[in-house]
Chain length 155, copies 2
């Protein structure tokens, strides 16, 4: 009675049954594929998404930026310093609140937006799935992400 059946169910530990693994592997692979088109702009993928946020919304604090791109100060602080060094952004502490760090595009950074148009174009056929699958994939991922965000928010 005490003895358990030896035939345990290890199915849940098989790689093929994981949802997370293809998610993780796909994300890595696509980020890797961004490298070539982004090399032209001298940006990494993470730097690119930061630039995209600034192109779309203009200047904001590091904290606001971090909330949008899901990165904390430990990642953003050095990354933003590198972008500043490249001349794409400025980092300034407003007199109104010297704790904050306001990130703004420089002229060069703003101008880079033009060149950046080549990136989504080059990447457009990167994921080799029919258009309807791509849309469905995006829908599900956005949904999952927004639920995680709201879970994050009320803790």
């Amino acid at each position: 009675m005490k003895e358990q059946t030896n035939k345990k169910n290890y199915e849940s530990l098989k790689l093929g049954n994981q949802l997370c693994f293809p998610l993780y592997a796909c994300a890595k692979e696509i980020v890797r594929q961004y490298r070539t088109p982004l090399a032209v702009l001298n940006l990494t993928y993470t730097q690119y998404i930061v630039m995209m946020v600034l192109w779309e919304h203009g200047s904001m604090t590091e904290g606001e930026l971090g909330r949008i791109v899901h990165l904390d100060s430990g990642t953003l602080a050095p990354l933003l310093k590198r972008l500043e060094k490249q001349g794409y952004i400025s980092r300034t502490r407003p007199a109104s609140n010297e704790r904050q760090l306001v990130i703004a595009l420089t002229k060069t950074g703003e101008a880079l937006k033009e060149t950046a148009l080549s990136v989504p174009e080059a990447m457009s056929e990167c994921i080799d799935l029919p258009r309807e699958d791509l849309l469905e994939l995006k829908r599900l991922l956005d949904k999952a992400l927004s639920r995680m965000d709201s879970k994050q928010a009320n803790k």
Copy 2:
């Protein structure tokens, strides 16, 4: 005639229109959520997927392992050394081919499989989506990944 219309279409550079971003953010978030259950086993997420492959398939070379988990020697070499230090795996060069590095589970590593059953259980309700969405998401990601693999293979 030479002058182009100033109203450029920057839609493709908005974060909300990217497929890659939610993929990237979701993957990070889920890997982050693995931390707590994996802390019990003293494993990182990447170490965990390596262990899963070994639990399922037994020993293999570093190269074979890398092909399965999509990681190269630059990542695996130090990771495997850490797993060896923890006593979960052994790293040996077979006499038949001393270039290769055969990775095998130790008794401790094999036994860890039992404890590891708690991980998928703890994670099961991590992505807050209805079951059918999860299945669809997995299907699409597996599809995308396998196409990338085959593209990789014939180059």
